[in-house]
């Protein structure tokens, strides 16, 4: 147990033989192949869920700042609902309960259900940030937009949102990194992502430390890459003249 055995990744997943070039081929699958395919699932779940979360989170955040009380109530109810149930329970609801209650959803692959579950869970948190971003703008901006003869949607589109979205990029960055971390919950409904790989490969090979280290490293790299991507966007869309802005 005391020595490293990184060769475990070159083993065939079925017969345990060491494959000479570590990557299988012609029907053979090594643990290294499996690791990369699991990383692919983690990436796809995270990125698709991020899109779902951004779309619904922005929409609900915007609704919560409109003058219409009904819309505010709907946005608040959405946020409280998805924020106050544990993510794992929400994933189980999407996987076990929703298809049972809504028959047309029975054929939907579990991958998409998990994307929806993770995306809507995160949308509640993004809606909070978008709302806070819009509310942090001076009230005069909204009034100015309306006074110029813009309709309410035009005021949002041309006056409020361009600034609000720039303001919320830093908290959105940490939410994007959270999505990568939270995607690990998908193991519970048998999505073959990194955490499920870690659990199963650890059991099969008994080389837990090597397996867990590689998986932890990949989570780290993924979250870090997203962090850099958001910083790049933040730098590109900076408004001159603001604190922390360009020249």
């Amino acid at each position: 147990m005391s020595t490293w055995d990184w060769q475990v990744f070159c083993k065939d997943t079925i017969d345990g033989e060491i494959v000479s070039r570590c990557f299988g081929g012609a029907g053979d699958v090594t643990y290294l192949d499996w690791l990369f395919s699991a990383w692919g699932w983690t990436l796809s779940v995270s990125l698709l869920a991020l899109i779902v979360a951004l779309v619904f989170g922005s929409l609900m955040g915007i609704l919560r700042t409109t003058p219409n009380r009904g819309l505010v109530l709907a946005g608040n109810a959405w946020t409280e609902l998805f924020r106050n149930i544990p993510l794992l329970v929400q994933i189980f609801l999407w996987y076990h309960v929703v298809p049972a209650l809504i028959p047309p959803l029975r054929g939907v692959p579990s991958f998409l259900l998990v994307v929806l579950g993770l995306g809507l869970f995160t949308s509640a948190r993004i809606s909070e940030q978008v709302k806070a971003g819009i509310q942090s703008l001076p009230r005069g901006q909204r009034m100015a937009g309306l006074a110029m003869g813009f309709t309410l949607p035009q005021t949002y589109r041309h006056v409020l949102l361009p600034m609000a979205f720039r303001i919320v990029i830093p908290p959105l960055t940490s939410e994007a990194m959270n999505i990568v971390k939270n995607s690990s919950v998908a193991f519970a409904v048998s999505i073959s992502e990194l955490t499920l790989f870690a659990l199963q490969a650890q059991e099969e090979t008994a080389r837990g430390i090597e397996i867990y280290l590689s998986v932890t490293g990949l989570y780290f790299i993924t979250a870090f890459a997203l962090n850099r991507a958001f910083h790049f966007i933040e730098a590109r869309v900076r408004v001159p003249g603001m604190i922390g802005g360009g020249h």
């Binding site: 106050n84 929400q90 209650l101 690990s184 430390i209 867990y212």
Partner: protein, 222 residues
């Protein structure tokens, strides 16, 4: 089309399947909260120290914990604790240790922000009165930081309570597990998951309303 039947969830079934898990979830939340805040405060003080040999390890610990998914942290500890102590430890005990050490990283960030929000003059006043570092922290800075941060600490505790459901990964018997087992035994998983979700929602929603009330009261005092 809705073929839901909750009749099997009698008080007897609930007390034999769910209560044990509920008790564990609450226990885990409370221990991890108290232990996490205590350890987190120490970590925050270390990070704010001017001595690099104190600040750097604390920063490394907090940043590492915060960048790994909680499920992986749970699995890591479940794997490593038996190797370190030389004998297997139950899933429940392992979860308690994991959550305390993991949450300490999050609580420490909150406490750090709380301590940093105290005016420098308070520390200077402490020293001027002849107090040493420990007395200044314990009697002047920490009580204020703690009160300012109370709503955030409690919100983090609600998140902690939600996260305890992740002990699913190592098969510990918590609230969610209790419902799951009951659902399997009576072949009514849809109903039990719905009840579990409703219960979690009721608890977390009412707690977050209380925190909001508390926040308003604290805001008035200032």
């Amino acid at each position: 089309m809705l073929n839901l039947d909750f009749a099997f969830l009698t008080p007897q079934i609930i007390s034999s399947y769910v209560l044990k898990g509920f008790a564990f979830s609450l226990q885990l939340t409370l221990v991890a909260m108290l232990g996490g805040i205590a350890l987190g405060t120490v970590l925050a003080l270390m990070r704010l120290s001017s001595r690099p040999w104190l600040a750097l390890p604390a920063a490394a610990y907090v940043n590492t914990m915060r960048s790994i998914p909680l499920v992986m942290v749970i699995l890591w500890f479940f794997l490593l604790i038996p190797l370190v102590i030389g004998r297997p430890l139950g899933a429940e005990m392992s979860a308690v240790i994991t959550f305390t050490l993991f949450e300490a990283a999050y609580y420490s960030e909150i406490m750090r922000a709380g301590i940093q929000s105290i005016p420098k003059g308070q520390v200077a006043a402490g020293y001027a009165l002849g107090m040493n570092y420990g007395q200044t922290m314990r009697l002047i800075v920490l009580p204020q930081a703690f009160r300012n941060m109370l709503p955030v600490l409690l919100t983090q505790t609600i998140i902690l309570f939600q996260d305890t459901s992740l002990v699913y990964a190592i098969g510990a018997y918590d609230l969610l597990k209790g419902f799951e087992v009951a659902g399997k035994n009576f072949n009514r998983p849809v109903e039990t998951y719905l009840v579990a979700a409703t219960l979690y929602f009721a608890i977390c929603f009412s707690l977050s309303m209380l925190v909001r009330k508390l926040q308003q009261r604290i805001a008035i005092i200032r």
